[in-house]
């Protein structure tokens, strides 16, 4: 079938949209849905009906003056459910707040103070998105439409200029020109590797004609990262358009999106977008009358992190990586030339052609141009998804955009910052001394970390870095596919050594062995999973050596996290001398006369915690 006229679709949408006086957007991202945003959506519907207010839930000819829609993830997940009425932006909205919002805000234009965002850093309230530092200090190109448009309505994407670039490219540009423009833009792969996207396409383009594939890697397996999920949930059509452009650039007629099964909503929205695009003839045969075909299939992953590695993804039936070369551009899916790009990369493509590659190249540092999304989580005032120009410093992201580090009870305390872990299990730790390091591919690499997919976990002083390294090793050990020995055995042994350190069996020799082993695994593993698995160990050893030493020499965990190294103490001010703990202690480590404060002999104590759980006065505490 012929592709429908997208200019007409955009005009029809915009004409219909003129009827709308008030738009209510309820965030329908995974985070807000968990907070109950779907119930809030339903409450709006019921309440509007009850009051006989004209309300539409889709933009069609003759639609009514109030328009209620869901949006994708707006990235401000900790403040959800998020609701906006026109420009007014409400946070933590509950079903019970809905009648008041309709009564005051929708009908009278009044602002409900209590629902506005309250900035814990300066105690100020913000009325609109533009007033909130979290958003105001970002530069949202990729995420511009996430949270603004209805992700389940392709017409709105088109009305915002969507698929116009794909159309222009299919009709007016040769594959060679497309690759050249991409190289000019300087875009580097956002999945972690940072390989120039245009070059990747060019390699696949120059392969002899025949069957070729485009794969969208949506197997976001790094714990602590959710950029790709948000983009798929918030603007799925941008991903499809990027795949179309990539397909034209290399001469592919088929694409696959490989999504992890942990993302059911993203899968649903991507499938819906594909159906809608097929119905309009944007995907399918003779795309835009160009004589070219392109179809997209969705594949659900089954929970193995290594499948995000490109050769493993291709071989995902058995899920194991292969030796490179041959690179996928030469021999990929079913042995055919294949381009694999990650979600964020693909979703940026149409934007690059819209603004012009030269303009894109001007954003951020010359060697890593463009913007990058980071998932900022952990001990931080404003958890969420942020998009900033590459080269923004860690200080700007943590303090200005995300509102600063917090204590464990949630109060803001920039002084509590200890480290930021970037790049997930493949990445490294950044410390206070890295606060002014620009976040871009090359600067981070020289600091011993990596951009990775963009997970940025902020940790405060109460975090034990040895425990964090152990946590990541647990992950990589579990996810190691077992095909190559250095990764399979190396991660297992590194984990044992780290467990020894955390449980007080470590010696200086353990640290030495750990470092040697880490370097060996780094050099000799087959794929990126193994090669990068030692990074969290090496970077914590480098920047937090004193903490490792405290564990092995003094048998002490400075953060008080490692249970086996905990020191149980009795607070003499609280102890009533009842003797309960003395009776509970299995090794007779507690002494003291009745009615007098008791003491624990640290030499005898086996750290079982019996005294602590027995004490009725909270007198037993764990010291560092």
């Amino acid at each position: 079938m012929a592709t429908k006229d997208i200019a007409k679709i955009a005009k029809d949408f915009n004409d219909a949209y003129k009827n709308i006086k008030h738009r209510i957007v309820i965030c329908g991202g995974t985070g807000c849905i968990a907070g109950g945003s779907l119930d809030v959506y339903k409450a709006f519907q019921t309440e509007m009906e009850k009051r006989n207010l004209p309300c539409s839930v889709e933009v069609t000819k003759g639609c009514r003056e109030n328009y209620l829609s869901l949006s994708g993830c707006r990235g401000f997940c900790a403040q959800g459910p998020l609701v906006s009425v026109g420009d007014i932006f409400y946070t933590k909205v509950k079903v019970a707040d809905v009648p008041e919002i309709i009564e005051k805000t929708l009908l009278k234009g009044e602002v409900i103070d209590r629902l506005l965002y309250h900035n814990p850093a300066n105690n100020q309230k913000s009325k609109t998105v533009a007033d909130i530092p979290f958003y105001a200090k970002q530069q949202r190109i990729l995420l511009a439409d996430c949270g603004r448009i209805n992700p389940e309505d392709i017409n709105e994407y088109i009305a915002h200029g969507g698929y116009a670039q794909a159309k222009r490219i299919y009709l007016e540009m040769t594959p060679e020109q497309v690759c050249k423009e991409m190289i000019k833009s300087g875009l580097r792969g956002r999945g972690g590797g940072g390989f120039p996207t245009g070059k990747k396409w060019e390699f696949a383009r120059i392969e002899p004609e025949g069957k070729k594939y485009v794969i969208c890697n949506a197997d976001e397996g790094d714990p602590g990262a959710f950029m790709d999920r948000s983009v798929m949930e918030g603007n799925p059509n941008a991903v499809l358009e990027g795949m179309m452009i990539a397909a034209h650039a290399i001469g592919a007629d088929e694409g696959y999106i490989y999504v992890r099964m942990e993302y059911p909503l993203a899968i649903k929205r991507i499938r819906k977008a594909i159906e809608e695009a097929e119905a309009l003839g944007i995907l399918g045969e003779n795309v835009f009358g160009s004589g070219k075909n392109f179809k997209i299939n969705v594949m659900e992953g089954a929970g193995a992190s290594v499948c995000g590695e490109e050769t493993a993804l291709i071989a995902s039936v058995d899920g194991m990586p292969k030796v490179k070369p041959p690179f996928p551009a030469h021999s990929g899916l079913f042995g055919k030339p294949t381009v694999i790009n990650n979600v964020e990369t693909l979703a940026t493509v149409a934007k690059i052609f819209e603004m012009g590659p030269e303009n894109f190249a001007k954003i951020g540092p010359a060697t890593s141009p463009g913007t990058k999304t980071f998932a900022v989580t952990g001990h931080i005032a404003n958890t969420g998804l942020v998009e900033v120009p590459m080269g923004t410093t860690l200080r700007q992201v943590i303090n200005d955009v995300a509102g600063g580090t917090t204590n464990s009870d949630g109060t803001v305390n920039p002084e509590a910052f200890k480290a930021a872990q970037i790049g997930g299990p493949s990445g490294g730790c950044l410390t206070k001394e890295h606060f002014d390091v620009p976040l871009d591919f090359d600067s981070l690499k020289s600091a011993g970390a990596m951009v990775g997919s963009g997970g940025l976990v902020v940790m405060n002083e109460k975090t034990c870095m040895v425990n964090v390294a152990r946590f990541f090793l647990e992950f990589t050990k579990r996810e190691s596919c077992g095909k190559c020995v250095p990764c399979r055995e190396g991660t297992d042994q590194m984990l044992s050594l780290l467990t020894d350190i955390c449980e007080g069996r470590g010696t200086m020799k353990t640290l030495e062995t750990l470092e040697d082993l880490a370097k060996a695994v780094q050099k000799s593993s087959l794929c990126a999973l193994g090669k990068t698995a030692p990074n969290p160990v090496l970077s914590t050893l480098k920047y937090f050596k004193d903490e490792y030493l405290a564990h092995v020499v003094e048998k002490r965990c400075p953060a008080g996290v490692c249970k086996a190294l905990a020191k149980y103490e009795i607070d003499p001010a609280k102890c009533k001398g009842c003797g309960m703990c003395k009776r509970a202690c299995p090794v007779q480590a507690i002494t003291g006369a009745v009615g007098k404060p008791h003491v624990i002999d640290p030499k005898k104590c086996i750290k079982c915690g019996s005294c602590k759980s027995t004490c009725k006065f909270g007198a037993v505490k764990i010291g560092a």
Binding site: G80, E220, G224, F226, M261, E300, A302, A304, D318, G378
Partner: protein
């Protein structure tokens, strides 16, 4: 063919007996049987003309597949980085204690609950996260985790 294999037979047919679709086939089979029983895996191998070892290999490689029966209610506690630094270990301990699960044991004796510790659910903004039968709960504390389990136990008792 016995009735036992009927659901699997239909799934194989829907996928054109294509062995390249082994993962999607196993996903559907697991939905139908709640786990992957050994006899069903052998049956699939036979029908797809591949070795049972291949099917077993894929089934044990991916975290999503279970080769032992799962409980009626699936409790997933996220242990991604963000959840970890925000104290997910305490939640896992609380759930284990409440459900009387021993180390390494995932499913309760009465097959009512299965506890899964997952790497990341992508809801890091709500850390720590616990999912009870596909409903996501954010900013969970050990006490809240116990409450959530109590709700399920109460509903079951009715």
């Amino acid at each position: 063919m016995s009735d036992r294999f009927k659901p699997a037979a239909q799934i194989l047919k829907d996928n054109n007996y294509d062995s390249a679709k082994l993962i999607p086939i196993l996903q559907k089979v697991q939905d139908a049987y709640h786990f992957l029983p050994e006899d069903v895996m052998r049956y699939i191998a036979n029908e797809l003309n591949i070795s049972p070892a291949k099917v077993f290999g894929v089934a044990t490689f991916f975290a999503h597949f279970a080769i032992t029966p799962k409980g009626k209610h699936i409790i997933r506690v996220c242990n991604g980085t963000a959840c970890h630094v925000k104290g997910s270990a305490g939640i896992i301990d609380a759930v284990k204690k409440k459900l009387k699960l021993k180390d390494g044991q995932e499913t309760t004796e009465d097959l009512l609950f299965t506890l899964e510790c997952v790497s990341c659910l992508g809801a890091c903004g709500l850390a720590p996260v616990m999912v009870v039968d596909d409903v996501v709960h954010g900013q969970v504390t050990p006490a809240k985790a116990e409450e959530l389990l109590d709700e399920v136990i109460k509903a079951e008792a009715k």
